[in-house]
């Protein structure tokens, strides 16, 4: 169904888009903001996980006597005394669990670092020390934790009923008619999210009900999973997560340790607080899986014509997890012919998950590198090759029009700001002292996801307002932008608006993932504000009221005053005072047209109510961008640095210029890490990660990113939602990997098809 909205831009709301500082920033810098682990829990016990050193095998015995003898010890929970739990379905099958394998249910060991016990004690130090005394005996067998290694399993195509392959046009003709063909395999490693806030669960049982403090991107789903696991009505479970110290996809679906902590708290009749350590964060939850892109690109007369793209992604032995990034690469340009497939390789690791732009980072690294190679081979400027292949006229897979399409504009604006016109088709030509400089570019794309959302809004006659919803702020600015929307729509001061999120008792919402939340929850908030507004107008225009007889469609709200088109005014506070009890309370909702009402009914119970994605039956929908980078490679040490990055991005309406920019620059910086630093390395002998801490798993530091500029390209979109806003959270990182690889080639003449790209690969330079 085609959606067309009267977007808020037309309602003249100058506040939306403004770079209002985050409302919680003072609380955060002064330490007043409470993250999950900061909630005081009277009488809490402290827990630590014990994990397996072996990657695969059977737990033949577990000696807990020494641990139990430590003074201050309360409980060692293993498969022997773990209570049975209800159905633990994954999010793919109606549940909310990250993986289908729950370790404490059996003696099976299926990946290194799997939970084998939980140790609970009076003090965290006691638990930690006792955990070291738990002696699991494991009969280990050979295992493989990497897909990029001899002996890895064969790729298996993703079943067609879960993801149909893409076939468009005549491939043979496209490649036969090509003047340039580039073919290759691009590989990306396992990476881990590493939010600064560790995973944590504090569980408290009271009167048979459960309250869990969990840093979460999905409080409604977490509530559902806990209710199912412990056989409770959802009304008896409350999940709280008011502030989250970064998540990036790692705090969405429910992880096993949360269930274990809740079970222990119930057994002990005391609150239990469990921290997952940094190194355990590498194994007890999710990661970005390794992947291989097999790509063939055809160019004819300076235009991209054919694409063959197979992505092979890593999964676990027990779940088929796939990230169909070919859905994006096939739609980025106006290909004449396309053939795209997805496959997975099973490995002995925990089930992979979503990590910032999960489908796009590996696939765009491949595609945008391949296109750069094709441009060089064809003798075309890489910028022109992309512009000549514009898909602005419509999605080349579905044939549908875009709700809006900003890629060409981003390429032009980015090129201009960066100075791409200085680019010369010659490698090793830009030498500054001991450094070789180079320029690279790549397109960025992220699908627009929207999902059903709800929000509650209350406006009192003192003009203070309270907005609540089971939505999430992992640092990206949700609190701030929804407050802006309410203030703008009602003409009341922002200071008087309280926003309370991250509480599963509030209006239900889906996961804050796929950059959907601002576009979805924001639309529900707008709906709530509009409902209050209609109610107020109704009150003010009734017989004998101050604005009786005025045109209800022409009432302006500003500074606490309502103004009719005939110039009459009414004080908003007085009008709200006319409402029963002096308060107006509404629930705002928003459902994308592409999501059926049937699945919406699931929102309260499961937190999973369907999603509208890149293609609906009427439109193709995506945010776009263009990344331009300058790299410098040291001629002797091979060190690779990124002195300058410029990105231009179009993602519909900007809701807050400051928070949007920080999402984009944060993503761009992560892209530097993603292609130059980050790799979770595997000791293949033991199928075990070797660099599981931040001393050994590198992410960029300030000195690595001296200049990062994000240009926000204004874009009007009338078909996404009433805000006209797409998602921005995941867009910034998507093109950076390839842009840097391409710039490294320009600087040195060295092509790298494997990430990360490091000094050892540059030593020939």
């Amino acid at each position: 169904m085609a959606e067309t909205y009267h977007v808020v831009r037309d309602v003249n709301l100058p506040l939306i888009g403004k770079g209002v500082p985050r409302m919680e920033s003072r609380a955060k810098v002064t330490g007043a903001a409470r993250y999950a682990a900061d909630e005081p829990l009277a009488g809490a016990l402290h827990a630590t996980l014990v994990t397996s050193a072996h990657a695969k095998g059977t737990l033949t015995a577990i000696d807990t006597r020494a641990a139990e003898a430590v003074p201050g010890m309360r409980l060692v929970l293993t498969h022997r005394n773990m209570p049975a739990l209800g159905d633990l379905a994954r999010y793919t099958t109606g549940g909310a669990m990250q993986s289908s394998f729950f370790p404490l249910a059996s003696t099976e060991i299926r990946y290194a670092g799997q939970i084998v016990a939980l140790v609970v004690a009076d003090a965290p130090e006691t638990a930690e020390e006792a955990a070291k005394l738990v002696r699991p005996r494991i009969d280990g067998v050979a295992a493989t934790a990497s897909m990029h290694v001899d002996g890895a399993a064969e790729p298996v195509p993703v079943p067609e009923d879960r993801l149909p392959p893409i076939r468009v046009g005549d491939m043979d003709a496209a490649f036969a008619g090509a003047d340039t063909i580039v073919e290759g395999e691009w590989r990306t490693p396992i990476q881990h999210h590493n939010p600064i806030e560790l995973w944590f669960t504090a569980a408290e049982w009271r009167d048979g009900g459960l309250t869990a403090h969990v840093p979460s991107q999905w409080v409604t789903g977490t509530r559902a999973a806990l209710a199912t696991a412990f056989d409770l009505p959802v009304s008896r479970v409350r999940v709280l997560s008011r502030h989250v110290g970064g998540a990036f996809g790692s705090k969405g679906a429910v992880l096993n340790h949360t269930l274990v902590a809740c079970a222990a708290a119930r057994m002990l009749g005391r609150p239990v607080a469990l921290y997952v350590s940094r190194s355990q964060m590498f194994t007890v939850g999710t990661m970005r899986p390794a992947a291989t892109q097999r790509i063939r690109v055809a160019v004819r007369d300076g235009r991209l014509t054919g694409l063959e793209h197979t992505q092979i992604g890593q999964t676990s032995r027990f779940d088929t997890f796939f990230l169909p990034g070919t859905e994006q690469t096939t739609r980025l340009y106006a290909w004449d012919a396309i053939r795209a497939d997805e496959a997975t390789v099973a490995t002995d690791v925990n089930t992979p998950g979503f990590m910032r732009a999960p489908a796009e980072v590996p696939t765009l690294f491949g595609l945008e590198s391949a296109i750069d190679e094709a441009a060089w081979a064809a003798g075309v400027n890489p910028l022109d090759l992309r512009l000549n292949s514009s898909a602005a006229g419509g999605d080349s897979v579905s044939g549908l029009p875009w709700t809006s399409h900003g890629l060409d504009e981003c390429l032009r604006r980015g090129a201009e700001a960066f100075g791409w016109s200085d680019w010369q088709p010659e490698t090793r030509a830009m030498r500054r002292g001991d450094w070789l400089h180079g320029y690279g570019l790549a397109s960025a794309v992220y699908p627009t996801y929207t999902a059903p959302a709800t929000a509650d809004l209350r406006l009192g006659s003192d003009l203070s307002a309270t907005l609540t919803g089971a939505a999430h702020d992992m640092g990206m600015g949700t609190y701030t932008i929804v407050r802006q929307i309410v203030a703008a729509e009602l003409g009341v001061p922002q200071d008087g608006i309280a926003v309370d999120l991250g509480d599963s008792d509030h209006a239900p919402n889906s996961v804050a993932g796929g950059a959907r939340q601002a576009a979805s929850f924001g639309s529900a908030v707008l709906d709530a504000a509009r409902r209050v507004r209609s109610r107020v107008i109704e009150l003010a225009l009734a017989e004998g009221r101050p604005l009786a007889g005025a045109d209800p469609t022409e009432i302006a709200f500003a500074d606490g005053v309502m103004t009719a088109s005939d110039g009459r005014t009414a004080r908003l506070s007085e009008v709200v005072g006319l409402a029963p009890f002096g308060v107006i309370e509404v629930r705002g909702t928003w459902v994308p047209a592409a999501v059926g009402m049937k699945s919406v009914m699931e929102l309260y119970r499961s937190g999973n109510a369907g999603i509208a994605g890149m293609v609906t039956d009427a439109y193709a929908r995506a945010a776009f961008g263009a990344n331009f980078v300058e790299v410098a490679v040291h001629t002797r040490t091979g060190e690779i640095r990124v002195p300058r990055m410029v990105g231009a991005f179009a993602f519909g309406r900007v809701l807050n210029e400051r928070t949007a920019r920080s999402q984009l620059t944060g993503g761009m910086i992560w892209g530097v890490g993603s292609v130059l630093h980050e790799a979770t390395e595997v000791d293949h002998r033991y199928a075990r990660y070797i660099n599981g801490d931040l001393g050994e798993y590198f992410v960029p530091v300030n000195a690595d990113v001296p200049s990062v500029e994000a240009i926000l390209v204004e874009e009007e979109d009338r078909h996404i939602n009433p805000l006209g806003a797409k998602g921005v959270g995941e867009l910034g990182i998507t093109g950076v990997n390839a842009a840097i690889a391409n710039a490294v080639h320009h600087a040195t003449g060295i092509r790298r098809r494997d990430a990360p790209i490091r000094m050892e690969h540059m030593l020939g330079a």
């Binding site: 002797r636 040490t637 660099n691 590198f698 530091v701 000094m759 050892e760």
Partner: protein, 345 residues
Amino acid sequence: MRTFAYERATSLAQAAERASEPGAMLYAGGTTMLDLIKLGVYRPQRVIDITFLEDPALRTIEVAGGTLRLGALVKMNQAAEDATVKDRAPVLSESLWLAATQQLRHMATLGGNVMQRTRDTYFRHPDWLDLADGDAAEVETYGNTPYGDGRLTTVRQPTRLSAVLGTTETDTASYPGDFAQGLVAFDAVIEITGPDGAREMPFADLHVRPADKANEGDYARLAPGEVITAFRVPLSPALARSTYVKARDRASYAFANASAAVGLEMDGDAVADVRIGLGGVATVPWRAAAAEDVLRGGPLTEETMRAAAEAAFADAVTHEANAFKVPLGRNVIVQALTTLTRMEG
């Protein structure tokens, strides 16, 4: 984490006395020690904090009798910024500037710096021992590590960060620090106070090479309770014309994949004196004496620099993951020498 007692030393002699008792360790800035304790690598029963000792000899930087003397409690930052050090021994200042972060440099002492342990992942994460062959046995080691029984050698393997010089078949863990390279290159001497009084030792003798180790705890040639009190570096023209080159994966806050502490004195067109210390590539702070020999007395050209760099790694033993350290290490030497040729002599 196991509990341990914390004590503040009241005098140098008392510190040496207390630290000589079994299970005791000296505690300076704590920046690497606390990490290792939390990781379960060090398991002290008692730590003796020496940072409150007022003794000026421990805290000052001075030049006397042709020697630069740096007290062991001098903070990394203080030495990096010191005008005399910058002027007379730039390599030492630079090596400290390029190490760790400003926050760490404000906490960490020079004595603690040279005593830091390898960043080898197998060493830092004792849970690898769960996969090791044989039964665990408690063997007394420095810091009471779980590694005395030698089982670590049955599980660890070379990684990308491993050393290529001074290794054995079972031990390729590299020495990570930056400051030590300048000390080893310029014949520094360390002053030591122990329970039995004071002594001196060439800095080059401090760290034990894997081939000479009795066990993993046998790491530095200090007897129980011995405290490093100062570093003495003879001043020389080569020290005054010196530099530190560090190749690393990030622009800051990363250990060296390869580094070179190099000093040069020219006599006309001939090399009068040259010093080359290498970091990131060796199991201990490494003096590239063979490379120095190639250059000393001859001209300094691209060709001789390359030849010296070749000589420095003639005995290198590489593995797939760390083979790049040989070409990298050579290039780092050439880079440092080239930088010095651009500097006024």
